[in-house]
């Protein structure tokens, strides 16, 4: 199945979906070396977003989060792609600078449709998600 979405940062990526159902702040809440989420009480605490298709509603918190996304990429710990309900400035800035494919505003509610571990193909050049 194909879902249309808005392209924030171009590129293609394929991987397993990893879904967080709450807003995520990258600064202070993830290890930039491993991609492991370290935020206390986060439902995904201890899991790595490395090579995943990381799906969460929107970013939050410090603007330094953009730099963390960039560091994840440099350290080889970045997700293959990011999908948001609505991407805000911090995540958009980080994804564009790090050249990580990023999409938002999918036509279907992706947080409800996709399950953890589903394999997704993200084509941010065309603004498409293939489930």
């Amino acid at each position: 199945m194909k879902i249309k979405a808005r392209s924030i940062s171009e590129g293609k990526g394929k991987g397993e979906a990893m879904i967080l159902r709450e807003p995520f702040g990258f600064y202070g809440n993830i290890d930039p070396k491993t991609g492991i989420i370290t935020e206390k009480g986060n439902p995904l605490e201890g899991e790595s977003i490395k090579n995943k298709i990381f799906i969460f509603p929107n970013g939050k918190g410090s603007t330094v989060g953009s730099y963390v996304i960039y560091a994840l990429k440099k350290n080889g710990a970045a997700p293959k792609a990011i999908i948001n309900r609505e991407t805000e400035t911090i995540v958009a800035t980080g994804a564009i600078l790090a050249e990580i494919p990023c999409l938002d505003k999918p036509e279907e509610d992706i947080l409800k449709m996709v399950r953890d571990g589903d394999v997704l193909e993200v084509d941010a050049d065309r603004g498409e998600i293939i489930v």
Binding site: S62, T63, Y67, Y70, I90, T93
Partner: protein, 396 residues
């Protein structure tokens, strides 16, 4: 979004990959916020300078960016660093922190950024014009440039301010547009204000409004330094990036007739007291901090006259820019302040320096912004008061 031929060229890589990446970032942000086109900017000011704030990820980004060939094309200044860049050893800064902080400054220098580390660029040689478009980051400087000067800037993140500096442009949305500069609340000030009162007023208004554009009436005599403190507090307790003050700020008169229809908030002498109470959770400061935003030369002169011939029993630190230092030294202020036992610190401030590592329990300040940020950023208790009370406490 409409792009000129030159901008299209930048985007497609005619001026190299770094310019293309910066342009792509600005165009995407513009699309997210519904911009119709880009505007040329007169200057930029980048936040995210302190190693304490940006850490290793930020340093790596800046180094990489400099190495890829990023160079700014408009005057670009910096926010405060995490330490006094010359005299850091005297303030308990570790060798490791100092090394990393200097690496950050060097990366900026490589990009031709002017490494004036100050939250008051407008007092340090980066003075915008009325109506000029800017890409500034520091929230208090954004509020000052928009409100007191009438320039136009959104509150940029570190990377977007740099991208704007590298391309000389930013996307035309938010406060770049006249429509978004109209006031939406009328704040009737019903009490006289002096010194720390402006921070107290700003704290409460920012906290109540969250964002939006307040229009103040009833503010009598005030200095530019008072407005600097007012805007800083509002930008810290809320996300206010523009305000108007009747008879004081340049855009206020064009909105005067519309204020009748605005939602009204009154600020009484009781509100002022409530604000002081909310901002304080201790009353015996063992360190007093002045200069958030960075003290102007006149504020330093004022403090000098208060401290002349006195001996402080508590620590008192004055934070300011290296530009103000030149005149503080020249006027003999630095000498008198230091003779009283106080210290002058440059390039940094109490919020972005690693103050939490130092052994002070209760920090005194006359800044609404510092009072709001110190508990969260530095894990400190705060005593918020006017300058006379602070000095009195410092002498005891």
């Amino acid at each position: 979004m409409y792009l000129t031929r030159e901008e299209e060229g930048m985007l497609s890589g005619k001026e190299g990959p770094v310019v293309a990446k910066c342009m792509k970032l600005l165009v995407r942000l513009g699309e997210i916020y519904g911009a119709d086109r880009m505007v040329k900017i007169g200057s930029s000011q980048a936040a995210g300078v302190s190693y304490k704030s940006i850490g290793e990820p930020g340093l790596e980004f800046l180094r990489g960016f400099a190495k890829e060939g990023a160079r700014v094309r408009v005057p670009t200044f910096l926010n405060p660093a995490g330490m006094d860049l010359r005299n850091w050893k005297n303030f308990g800064i570790s060798e490791k922190f100092a090394k990393k902080q200097k690496d950050i400054i060097d990366a900026f220098k490589e990009m031709d950024v002017i490494t004036t580390c100050s939250c008051t660029p407008y007092l340090s040689g980066n003075l915008p014009r009325y109506g000029e478009h800017l890409a500034w980051s520091e929230s208090s400087a954004v509020a000052f440039a928009n409100s007191v000067i009438g320039a136009r800037t959104n509150r940029e993140g570190g990377p977007s301010a740099l991208a704007a500096a590298v391309t000389g442009r930013t996307s035309n949305y938010g406060l770049h547009l006249e429509d978004n500069r109209k006031p939406d609340f009328l704040i009737k000030v019903e009490t006289g204000l002096k010194d720390g009162d402006f921070g107290a007023l700003g704290y409460l208004v920012g906290k109540t409004l969250k964002n939006g554009v307040p229009y103040f009436s009833g503010i009598g005599d005030c200095t530019t330094d008072d407005l600097k403190g007012l805007g800083a507090a509002m930008a810290a307790s809320g996300a206010i990036a523009l305000y108007h003050v009747e008879n004081k700020t340049p855009e206020a008169k064009s909105y005067r007739d519309e204020t009748k229809n605005l939602e009204r908030i009154e600020f009484s002498v009781e509100d002022l007291k409530r604000s002081y109470d909310e901002l304080s959770d201790c009353d015996a400061p063992n360190l007093i901090t002045i200069g958030c935003p960075h003290a102007s030369v006149s504020e330093i002169g004022f403090l000098t006259r208060k401290l002349e011939g006195k001996k402080l029993k508590k620590d008192l630190w004055v934070f300011t820019s290296r530009a103000a230092k030149v005149w503080a030294d020249e006027m003999g202020y630095t000498k008198i302040i230091e003779e009283s036992g106080a210290k002058m610190i440059f390039d940094t401030c109490m919020v972005v320096s690693p103050l939490e590592e130092l052994d002070f329990e209760c920090i005194g300040t006359n800044s609404g912004k510092a009072a709001k940020y110190l508990p969260g950023f530095c894990k400190k208790k705060v005593f918020f008061a006017d300058i006379d009370t602070l000095i009195e406490k410092g002498l005891k």
